[in-house]
Each structure stands twice: as C-alpha cells, then as structure tokens.
C-alpha cells in the first residue's frame, strides 16, 4: 500500500495545491479516495467471480426444478388458489438452492472491503477531532467536464457532515455485510449479491463525499441503480423485477427535479460546487432560491420515499432482507435528508421551501403510520415505519434543525437496521421451518408467527430494544432524537423566519404548531404499530404449525452477532447528542456532542432561521414537551398491549378479509391502484393507441409518407393509361390542345 501511496498521493497533491494549507492535509485524510475505492474493488472482484463462475458451471437451470415443484403442488394440493401462488412469491424471501463454489472467497472479500473502509473512516474521524477543521477538506482528482462556463471537478470533500454519514454507511454497512454472510450464503447468486452490495456502498460514499452537486448526483443515481438491482435480485419472480423497476422509475421522477435544480444553479450562479453555491446563494432572489429548493426537494421526495412518491419503498421489500436494512432503511433512503442538510445554505434562505419540506414530512409520517397499523407482512410494517420515520427527519431539516435531522438519521440507522435484520432472522427461521416440511405458507406474515420469544430469545430481546427506541422510550436512542425534532419544531413556531413566512396563505407559525401536533400523533401511532408487530411476532401462542414448530430456532452467530452490536447502539445511541436538560439532571455523557461536531457545517444556517439567536425555550416548556413525548410513547405501548389479543389471531390462511377502515389501511388507501389508473395506464394506452398507431403509423407514415407514394403511383398510372398507342386519339388530343392554347391567348 505504501507503493500505491507513493504513486498516487503526489498526483493528488499536484492537482489540489490549495489542500496543502488545510489542517487535515498530511494526515490519514489524504487517503480519502481509498474509502470508496475499497468497496469498488470488492465489486470488481465479486462481480468477476459471479460472471466467471456462471460461465463455467455448465448448464444450470434452477427454474426447471422450480416449475416442476409448482406443478406438482398444484396436482395434489387442490385447495391452493392461483392467487396464493402469486402472493407467496413476494412473501417468500429466501430461496436456498445450491451454495456457490466461490462462496468462501466472497464471504471474505465482501465484508472485508467494507470493514477496511470503516477502519479508515474511523481513523479519519480521530484525525478530524484533533485537527478542528472549520473548512471542508477537498481533494480534487481530475477535471470531469470542462466547457464554456462549466468547470466541474471530480472531487471529494471531507467535512463533519460527510464524516457522520461515512461512519454510518461504513459502520452499519459492515454489520449488515457480516449478517448477509449468514443470510445469503446458500443462494446460488451469492457473488452477484455481494457485488451489488459493495457497489452500493461505493455509490453511497460518492453521494456523501462528492464536493459538488453533479458528483453527488453520480452517487445519487448510482445508489438507485444498486437498489434496482438488489430489489430485483431474485429476478425470476415477476413481482420482484416489477418492484425493482418501479423503484428506479419513481426515483427518476425525483431525479428530474434534481436535474432541474442543477440547471437553475448553473444558469444563475455558473457553478455547482457546494462552496461556490454557498457563497453565491445570498445573491439570488428568494423566489429563485425557493424554486431551486423545491426542485431539489422533489429529488428528496423520490429518494426518501415521501408523499407522493413513497409508493416504491414498500414494494422494495421484495429484495433480500439485509438489503432492506442497508439500503431501504439505514442509508440510501436517508440521502434526501442528507441533501437538505447539505444544502442548508439554500434552504435556510427559503422559509417557504422549508415549510413545504416540514409539512410533507409530517403528513408522510402520519399517513405511513396509519398504513403501518394494519399491515400483516413483517417487512411491510417496517417499510411503512421507515417512510414514517423519514418524515420525522424531514420535519427536522425542514424547520432548519439540521442537527436534529441528522441525529435522527443516525439513531434510525441503528434501530431500524436492527429491526430489519431481526426480522431477517425471524424470516430465516420461519423459512427454514417451512422448508423442512415443504409447506408453502407465507414466512413473512405475522399471523403465521406468534410466541417466537421461546424459540429465539436473543432476537426477541434485541428487537424489543429497537422497538422501545423507535417508540421513543427513554433512555433509548430514538427518544433523544425524536424529542429533539419535536422540540425544534415547537420552538420555531415563534421568532423564526419560518414562523413569519406564509405558506399558501397559512401563517407559518400556525403551520408549525400543526406539524408539531401531527408529530405527536404519529409518535403515538408509532408506539402502537411497533408494539403490535412485537406482540404478534414474539408473544402469545405460536401459529406456525405443529410440524414446523420444532424447527424454529435462533439464527447462527454470524447473523446474531451484528444484531447485538446494533442493539448496543440502539440502546445508547442517544449519548451522541444528549440535551442539556438531561445532562444537568444526569451527568452521564457529553452535552450536545453532535451539535458541536456539526457546527462548522450547519451552525450558521441553523442560526439564520432563528434570526441569529440560539433557540431558547423556558425550562418549564422544555420539560413539558419531553413529558408529552414520553407520555405519548408509553400510552401507545399500553394501548396496544391492552387492546390487541395475539391469542385471538389465526394463521394467514384462515384469516377473514378486512372491512371498512381496516381495509383502507390494509390496502394502503388504494394509492397504487389510483396511480395505475390515473397515470400508468393512460400513458401506456395513449402511447400505444394514439401516438404509435394513430400519429406515427396512421397519420405520418400512413397518410403522408405512403400517401405521397400512392399519389406518385396514381399519377404514373394515369400517365400510362393515356398512352394507348392509338394514333387517332393522340391526334385529337393535339388538336384540342392547340385550340385551347390559341383560345386562351386570343381571349386574354
């Protein structure tokens, strides 16, 4: 590696002479480029193994066997409806067929690259802590695009915000990679899986490390690509391939917004570097800044699954469960929150945009939580929970509480990753049990679970920790971050630029109180649906089936180990940013550590929203707000505990259909169906019937092009029929012609 550094480092310093003055220059931060490069290397190795091995294992045709089994099932299990087969396809998460012959190498390369990346990031963190850098550390590698006024560098930057994200991505990412070794080892596509996963981490790091918007956009679309590939990882099922495609296309709608924002930035400022935009932002009119912010936010709405583009995320659960944990909970979907925080120099100037962000977040949080109340698929519950929690993060960054948003992003990464991986362990056990008896029951439906705490005690305890964290019970991580969000929203309802702004005629202050109220209600619902999930999964009697019950057991340690670490983080993650009111009362850790850490990046912008003064609430108010949050969380758990009766639940196959409101929640307000009828089908039919068959084949080609050809032929035919060869006829024509000509000339 020293050889490598001798070769590459001089190049970098040559390209970026300004970096020499930065306090981080000459430290381990010089290796910044290696952080994303390691996962990229993993992708190359695993990808090569995947292609190479398939090319040489001879004719492998797993589908042939698969089809036979299905046909066989139909023959002797007459009660199986076609619909059951279809729904089983997305309920069935795990398809062990045959272990790949390079599984050993892959198990080492995949997680190792990420672990190295994490170690490097951690070293940089300590270097940063002692360097006290106030400016970002920028490494410029080469010119990406240069023409006219445009000069775009391929450059990475390291600042405190990027560092937090990098730690989450590589840290939580490593744990999920290790878990994946256990979860996916027996899948025939194992090297391909790790190739995609490594590639994802590469793009995610590019996203957070890019020093300008276009480089960030590489990561932004790159993670979308990996998400697409991993959702559709088991692509032989149409539902999975559909879900992947849907995710990509819906995300592209958001990316369109991102692109328009970039065009506007370039047209108005001539630059797309973060530093350049930050410097130029105050020169733009508020209207332009607001427009740019709203277009950027459209990108966030797509990537972070907010109303109205959230529809792809629940479907994304078709991917392997560790993917759901890494991409669709801990990292990628939070990119929108990161983007708003990263663009704080724009959003803090546009209160109307900020209010839009916060309101969208609040409504999404509430909306998704109500759907989460009635889902039966354990992963779907968690998916809607993720949408809802992302809404909380947008509430925070929308009102300019960037630290609170990033704080919740980090704690959410811990407890939601834990919940997903825990559910992965549960599904793994359920699937193994059903596999043993050859049953085709749904391994992800909570109605088929129940009482699992007896079989998987470790997972049970850990998932309760995560549940208490997400519900907001002190002293678990989620309590501190969620409380900070709610307090921030409440505090900004007075004396902030947001409160003074007017949003579509509604005073900002009133809107902020409304958002706070929605947040409290959502917190209550969160506690309810999470307790419901835990009750149905782990408590009450077991409904898996007599034959299968014996096979239920805890997952191997390669899977449970990462869960334990995440459990520790979920329990104590709040320590990263303890509020003063807490440390005054119980001096167990540093006060507002994250707040101080992020101060160089977002401190000024946070103050801009509140007229340059730190947010201040009276001691009493603050205590009241905390009390309200705690009461709501406890109330939610108690209500769910008292009202729901897991004993009365019956397995999925015997359950009656939902009715009334329950049906609307369970069917997710029929939004997917609405989009299909209002947008997808008309677009398809219009393109096919009107544009292609009507305009293209009919009007342009049929009428004009072939019509012209027909006319030419018709004239040719007329001309040819006139040539009869009868001289007499010709003579008459000549005479008539002469008469006509003379007549015309004389009469004129």
């Amino acid at each position: 590696m020293t050889v490598l550094s001798a070769g590459i480092l001089p190049l970098i310093q040559h390209a970026a002479p300004a970096a020499g003055a930065h306090p981080l220059a000459g430290t381990v931060a010089d290796w910044l480029w290696l952080v994303p490069l390691l996962p990229l290397l993993g992708f190359v190795i695993n990808g090569a193994l995947s292609l190479f091995a398939v090319a040489h294992t001879g004719p492998s045709d797993p589908d042939a066997g698969h089809g036979d089994v299905a046909a066989h099932d139909h023959a002797d299990a007459g009660h199986t409806l076609p619909g059951d087969v279809a729904s089983g396809s997305h309920g069935d998460d795990h398809h062990p067929v045959a272990r790949h012959r390079f599984a050993g190498i892959v198990s080492v390369v995949g997680p190792l690259m990420l672990a190295l990346s994490f170690v490097l990031t951690a070293a940089m963190f300590f270097a940063m802590r002692s360097a006290h850098a106030t400016e970002p550390f920028i490494q410029t590698y080469f010119t990406w695009m240069i023409t006219g006024e445009l000069n775009l560098a391929a450059a990475f930057q390291l600042d405190q915000l990027a560092m937090v994200m990098m730690l989450v991505i590589t840290g939580v990412g490593t744990l999920i990679h290790v878990f994946s070794v256990g979860y996916m080892r027996d899948d025939p596509g194992y090297p391909r899986y790790f190739a995609y996963l490594n590639l994802f981490v590469f793009f995610m790091l590019v996203l957070v490390m890019g020093a300008n918007y276009p480089v960030m956009f590489i990561g932004w679309e790159g993670v979308g690509l990996c998400s697409y590939l991993l959702i559709g990882f088991w692509f032989s099922e149409k539902a999975n391939a559909d879900a992947g495609k849907k995710a990509f296309i819906v995300n592209r709608i958001g990316d369109f917004g991102f692109l328009v924002a970039l065009m506007m930035l370039f047209a108005h400022l001539g630059t797309m570097d973060f530093q350049g935009v930050a410097a130029g932002a105050p020169q733009m009119s508020t209207g332009v800044v607001t427009a740019i912010c709203l277009f950027l936010f459209l990108g966030c709405v797509g990537k972070s699954a907010q109303i109205p583009l959230y529809v792809w995320l629940p479907d994304a659960m078709a991917g392997p469960t560790p993917v759901s944990a890494l991409i669709h909970a801990a990292t990628m979907v939070t990119a929108g929150v990161y983007l708003v925080a990263r663009s704080s120099f724009l959003f803090s100037l546009a209160p109307v945009a900020g209010l839009t962000v916060a309101l969208t977040g609040a409504l999404t949080a509430l909306f998704a939580a109500t759907i989460g109340l009635k889902q039966w698929d354990i992963k779907k519950i968690l998916a809607y929970s993720t949408v809802s929690q992302l809404g909380f993060m947008f509430m925070a960054v929308g009102v300019g509480a960037y630290v609170a948003g990033i704080f919740h992003l980090a704690t959410h990464a811990f407890f939601k990753a834990l919940l997903f991986l825990g559910s992965g362990s549960v599904i793994y056990a359920m699937h193994a049990a059903y596999h043993k008896t050859g049953s085709h029951e749904d391994a992800q439906d909570v109605r088929n679970m129940g009482g699992l705490r007896r079989f998987m005690p470790v997972t049970w305890v850990l998932m309760w920790i995560a549940t208490l964290a997400i519900a907001g019970i002190p002293p678990f991580a989620g309590f501190f971050s969620k409380d900070e969000i709610l307090t921030s929203v409440y505090a900004r309802a007075h004396g902030s630029t947001l409160a003074e702004a007017s949003w579509l005629g509604i005073p900002g202050s009133a809107l902020l109180y409304f958002i706070y109220f929605v947040g409290i209600v959502t917190a209550l619902l969160t506690a309810i649906y999470m307790t419901r999930m835990m009750l149905y999964t782990f408590h009450g009697p077991n409904r898996t089936g007599e034959a299968e019950r014996g096979a239920l057991k805890e997952a191997p340690w390669v899977m449970t180990g990462p869960l334990v670490l995440l459990g520790v983080l979920s329990a104590f993650g709040g320590w990263f940013n303890l509020p003063k009111i807490f440390t005054d009362f119980l001096p167990v850790g540093p006060t507002f550590a994250l707040e101080h850490w992020l101060d160089p990046v977002v401190g000024e912008q946070q103050l801009a929203v509140t007229h340059g003064e730190a947010v201040h609430l009276s001691h009493g108010t603050e205590l009241l707000l905390i009390g309200a949050a705690i009461v709501v969380a406890i109330a939610g758990i108690v209500v769910a505990w008292r009202m729901l009766k897991p004993e009365k639940l019956v397995p999925k196959a015997d359950s009656p259909a939902d009715e009334g409101f329950e049906r609307i929640f369970a069917e997710k307000y029929f939004v997917d169906e609405g989009y299909d009828r209002a947008i997808v089908q008309p677009l398809y039919r219009g393109s096919r019937g009107v544009l292609w068959r009507g305009v293209d084949a009919g009007l342009i080609d049929g009428f004009f092009v072939n019509g012209t050809a027909w006319l030419a032929r018709a004239f040719g035919w007329l001309g040819s029929t006139a040539q009869t060869g009868a001289v007499g006829t010709y003579a008459w024509v000549v005479v008539l012609g002469v008469v006509a000509v003379i007549g015309v000339f004389t009469l004129r």
Binding site: S50, L51, V54, A55, P59, S60, D61, D63, A64, F142, W144, M145, I146, T147, G148, E149, L150, A154, P214, F217, I218, W220, E221, G222, L225, Y228, G232, F235, S236, E237, K238, A241, D242, K245, F248, I249, R252, I253, F256, L259, V260, L262, M263, M264, F266, A267, L683, Y684, G686, S687, R688, L691, W692, V695, D696, I700, D701, F704, V705, A709
Partner: protein
C-alpha cells in the same frame, strides 16, 4: 507522440489515406470475388479477414489524429487539389473540431461492424464487405469535405451501399424498407443539391463566371434574407430527414428493423450523425440569419422537444426490440437538436457528446440485439424473458449498455445529456425543463424492456439453452463498454478537442457572417 507523428509527415497524408485505404481493401475483395465464390465458407472467411484488417488498419491510422490535432482549433491536415476545374470543384478535405470525433467514431466502429456480421451474413459475402468498405470512404468523406460539391458526392456515395445492404441482406420487408429509406433521403437531398449549385454560382468568380464550391467561399457569402431562408430550407430538409427529426422519422424504424446488424449499427451510430453534423457544418454557419430567426428557431426547438418525449413514449410500446431502439434514437437525436439550436457553448458541446455517445451506446445495443437474434431468430421482446440466468454475460452487457443509453451518471450517456440540458437551460429554460422529463420516460421504456427480456420467469423452452457470449462477441463488446465508462468518467479530453469548434460556431452564428446579420431581436 505528436513529434513522432510530425516526423513521419502524418498530417500531409493521413486524410487521403483514410479515404483510400477502404477502397484498396474493396479492390482486393473485388479481385477475389471475380475469382472465387463468396458463398463458400473458406473464401468467405478470407474475405472477412481482409475487410476486418483493412478497417483495423484504417482505425490505427486515424488514431494519430487524437494527438496530432490536440488543440481542435481551425483546420487540420487539409489537402486541396483541383478536381473538376471547369466547374470550380476541388477535392478539398480537412479536419476540424467537429469532424475529429466523428471520424474517430467511424473508424472505431467500422471494424466492429465486420465482427458483428461475422456469422450472420452468409450469402454474397464479398459484395457485402465491399459495400461496407465503400461506405466507410463515403462517410469519412462527408465529415472531411471542405467543398460543397464534394460533400454532396460523398453524401450520395454512402447512401447507395446502405440501400443495397438493407435491400439484399435485410429482413422480410427489406425491399419496402430500403426503398423508403432511399427515396426519403433522396428527396431531401435533391433540394440540397439545388441549394449547393446556387451557392456555388453565387460564390463564383464574377470575371470568369466559373462557380466556386469551396466551403470557405460559401462562408464568405452574404445572401439576401429571402435567399438565405430558402437555402436554409433546402439544407434543413436534407438534414432533418437524416437526423431524423420528428415528423420526418418514419423511415428510420423500418430501415433499422429490416437492416442486418451491421447496417443498423452504421445507420444509427454514424449516418444519423450526418444530419446533425450537417446543421453544425452548413445550415447554421452558412445561413445564421434564417436559422436564428425566432420563428424558425422556435419551430425546430419545439420539434426537438417533441422528438425527445414522443420518441420515448412510442419506444415504450414497441413489441419489437429493434424498433424500440430505433425510436429511442429519435428521442436521443432530439437532445442533439435541442443542444445545437439552443446555441450555447455548453449545449453545442453536449450535442456533440450525445452524437458520440449515441453512436457508441446505440451501436452496442444493436450489436446485442443482433447477437440474441442470431441465437433465437426473434426480435420480439415477448419471445424472451428470464434469460439472465441462461446468458449472464449477455445480460450484464445489455444492462450496462442500456444504462448508458438512459444516461446514468458515470456512463457516457449522462455527460452528453447533462451538458445539453444545463447549456440549453440558459437560453430556453421552459423547453429544456420539459425536455428533461425525457429522462423519466427513457428509464421507463428501457427498464421495462430489460425486464421482459432478461428478468421475469424463464418460461419459454426455446430460451433454456441459449449459449452465452462467445469470444468474438466479447471482443467486440469490450471496446464499446470501455468507451462507455471512459467517456462517462473522464470526458474532459474529448470536450477539450471540440471546445474551440463549438465556441467558434456559437460566436459566428450569433454575429452572422461578417456581422451583416445582427442577432434577431426578441431572443433571450
């Protein structure tokens, strides 16, 4: 490198050599064809080898241009000799920043087209290869011509071989398609010939009365607004058909679908570029007054945006994969027209990039369609499904190329579209924002097609034993994929070489010839 090139006098002979090498190869093949039968395996193989190595030599000769013409400004390696003195026609060729990358794209792709048709063309192999070689000369001539008459000759020279390639080695409806292609293009270009003769006579010597067809003379002319308008119209029609712009595009899907793989690749990757190249080389700089007339400009820009969205939507519903790619070309070429007529340095550079990238990515797509067609004899998307598990390498290649076609950042496709968009937004924000929705539709048609071909259930028995890519095919795709990644990650060297030409064009058109046509009012 440039010193080495100077020492062998590279500049003085390279362009004539590029035009002659393919003709020499064609001559050799002709001699062999007279002696032996190209329908037999042995002679056919020899013929393919000769054609391939001729075109490979052509590429190697041309690659020096990358270094010898690093600045990209002015004219390079010009050769100017009298050809038909009484008509004032000269054999005048030269390279500028616009032509450089187009020439390299052509010489890069041509050897690959021979590889691509290695096994699929089995009849009249000699004739087929001779036509390919002659066409190479014709296409390079179009890019290099510095004389309007020579340009027109080369324009027609490349048309005839393509007509035969579609008509003889094409699919079932090849006669209809080739005739449509020929007549459509011909009608467009006849008027251009009239325009060229008019310009030649105008520019002619007032003393001797001999016309002058040189490009420089044409540039020096100032036409009356009416003449400028009609001349622009004549050139516009020729180029618009070639691009093809909506609504002159309907020859394209038929020609693409019926052409053999090499024909489709050449048609999409190189010939379509002739149209947009014509706008850059002739229609804009010669008649800036007409081209920048607000109404004309608005019509062309609106047609470009329609092409982007319309092409994508029609591509969405195509049952035939080749047709889908053809309509996607209409969409991509819309971006090129948008970039050219938005007329900022960034957008013109972007248009040039899209031209290059479309050549690489769509060429690769047609190669891939050809490969799967050879195995399965169907272009219908519904004939496939789930084949990613049978042919993983093919699947990986198709996915990557499709992603570059829908402009995923990090691939070449993004660079072009991004530059067009940010450049055009400066002059036409609303239209450009509408055009940007094209990225959504592009993802829709391409990913849906990918899903129905590669993913879903492997439910057709014919697909269970498709062989994966062989070494010839891997060798053919590797340079294309390398180019996709290289231009996506490091396009700066390419952009640098085209910058000066783009800059000159923008300045010239905004100013008008010798400042006689001021910028029309009412434009942003």
């Amino acid at each position: 490198m440039s010193q080495l090139l100077d020492s062998i006098g590279y500049q003085s002979w390279v362009l004539p050599a590029l035009l002659i090498i393919p003709l020499v190869g064609a001559g050799v093949l002709l001699a062999l064809a007279v002696r032996g039968n190209g329908d037999e395996a042995g002679p056919a193989r020899t013929a393919r080898m000769i054609a391939f190595f001729t075109l490979l030599a052509e590429f190697i000769v041309s690659i020096g241009l990358w270094w010898s013409f690093e600045s990209g400004s002015g004219w390079h390696a010009s050769v100017n000799i009298p050809w038909i003195p009484t008509w004032g026609v000269r054999f005048s060729i030269g390279l500028d920043g616009f032509a450089l990358m187009m020439v390299l794209l052509t010489t890069f792709l041509m050897p690959l087209t021979v590889l691509g048709g290695w096994t699929s063309v089995r009849t009249k192999v000699h004739s087929y290869l001779i036509l390919l070689l002659v066409m190479t000369t014709g296409m390079l001539g179009v890019f290099l011509a510095r004389d309007l008459f020579l340009f027109y000759v080369m324009w027609e020279v490349m048309l005839v071989p393509m007509y035969f390639i579609i008509g003889i080695w094409g699919g079932e409806r090849r006669i209809y398609a080739s005739l449509k292609f020929f007549i459509y293009t011909m009608v467009g270009s006849i008027l251009m010939l009239v325009g060229i003769i008019y310009i030649g006579i105008q520019a002619g010597s007032p003393i001797t009365g001999a016309p002058d067809f040189s490009y420089a003379a044409a540039l020096g002319q100032s036409f009356s607004p009416a003449a400028s308008f009609w001349l622009f119209g004549a050139f516009f029609l020729a180029f618009a058909v070639k691009v093809p712009m909506f609504p002159f595009h309907t020859w394209l899907p038929d020609a693409h679908v019926e052409a053999p793989t090499a024909g489709s690749v050449i048609l999409a990757s190189i010939m379509l570029k002739m149209g947009t190249f014509g706008f850059l080389r002739f229609a804009l700089p010669l008649f800036p007054g007409a081209a920048m007339d607000p109404t004309v400009r608005a019509i062309i820009l609106i047609l470009a945006v329609i092409a982007i969205i319309y092409g994508a939507l029609v591509a969405l519903v195509q049952p035939d994969f080749k047709k889908l790619v053809a309509y996607s070309s209409v969409s991509h070429m819309g971006f090129v027209m948008l970039g050219i007529f938005a007329l900022t340095v960034e957008s013109v550079q972007g248009a040039l990039m899209v031209m290059i990238n479309h050549g690489i990515s769509t060429g690769a797509l047609f190669f891939l369609v050809g490969m799967i067609y050879e195995r399965r004899h169907s272009r219908l998307i519904d004939s496939y499904g789930g084949i990613a598990r049978v042919v993983p390498m093919f699947a990986a290649a198709l996915t990557l190329v499709a992603l570059s076609s829908i402009a995923l950042p990090g691939t070449n496709g993004f660079v072009g579209e991004f530059l067009v968009l940010i450049g055009a937004f400066k002059t036409f924000p609303v239209l450009t924002a509408i055009a940007a929705t094209g990225v959504i539709f592009a993802a829709a048609y391409m990913l849906w097609a990918l899903q129905r071909i590669l993913f879903n259930k492997l439910d057709k028995d014919e697909n269970r034993h498709l062989p994966d890519l062989n070494w010839r095919e891997i060798g053919l795709l590797t340079p294309l994929i390398a180019a996709i990644i290289w231009i996506g990650v490091y396009p700066a060297p390419v952009l640098r070489r085209m910058e000066s030409a783009a800059h000159d064009l923008v300045q010239r058109v905004e100013r008008g010839p010798q400042g006689r046509f001021p910028r029309p009012e009412g434009l942003p």
